[in-house]
Subunit: 144 residues, 2 copies
């Protein structure tokens, strides 16, 4: 696949790939919400359209951020999971959530509050590690 990069700047090049409404949202849905099928993504709160979802899943797969597979007992349904490369996006998601927590409350009155927020505020590195560990354990349990 050909990627269009505006220039040689590493900041801008990351934004060329990840700077849209969906790429990181899909990664978040897999990492945090246990979503892994096309149907899961479609039914998510963010309500992505099917044609956009197909395009984004293809791009995420081409970039090695997610992998597509089948379950042993269900050969029909594609399962999308984060690769180790995909898990490297966790610190970006964590920084986005922290920024959101610090800056969006005044314009977004119903912004979620939860138990996780306390750890996020106290120790963002630990928060990121906890997300990655929980995901890896879930995968391990599923495969075991």
């Amino acid at each position: 696949m050909e990627y269009k990069f505006r220039c040689d700047c590493p900041f801008t090049s990351a934004i060329d790939i990840l700077g849209d409404k969906w790429m990181l949202v899909i990664v978040k849905q897999i990492l945090l919400e246990g979503k892994e099928t096309f149907k899961d993504f479609i039914e998510s709160e963010e309500a992505i359209a099917t044609n956009i979802l197909s395009m984004k899943l293809k791009l995420l797969e081409d970039l090695g951020i997610i992998s597509k597979s089948k379950l042993p007992n269900n050969k029909k349904t594609n399962i999308y999971r984060l690769t180790p490369k995909g898990l490297q996006l966790t610190p970006i998601l964590v920084e986005l959530a922290l920024w959101s927590d610090n800056n969006l409350r005044e314009v977004h009155s119903s912004l979620q509050k939860g138990d996780g927020i306390d750890l996020l505020r106290k120790d963002k590195e630990a928060f990121a590690r906890a997300l990655i560990n929980a995901y890896q354990e879930k995968l391990h349990d599923n495969q075991g």
Copy 2:
């Protein structure tokens, strides 16, 4: 200004605001490249269109990420600078650059290499602090 948030998730809400091709690129241009006028942004490597630039500057200002002012000796030109709230975006930019450095080299052969990259790889927190300090010192020097 009214903001459209897809749901109450803090991750998605940050992406609702920052997830596009320009918001973080403009912040990067101010923070790293010394750009501060409309003309500076238009002439940047990323080549933003004037109508999109106007819209994004307005949004960044409304969100308190940048502030608009005039220079004492030039009452015609607007100067856009990062606020303390805007500087809080630095860790997001740093994580994006790190991800880029780790993951985009195989699909983006001309991705910039530079002296800064070494510090970024070795100590991302120090890298972020260095960017913020350099920006604050520049502002301080300009204000005399």
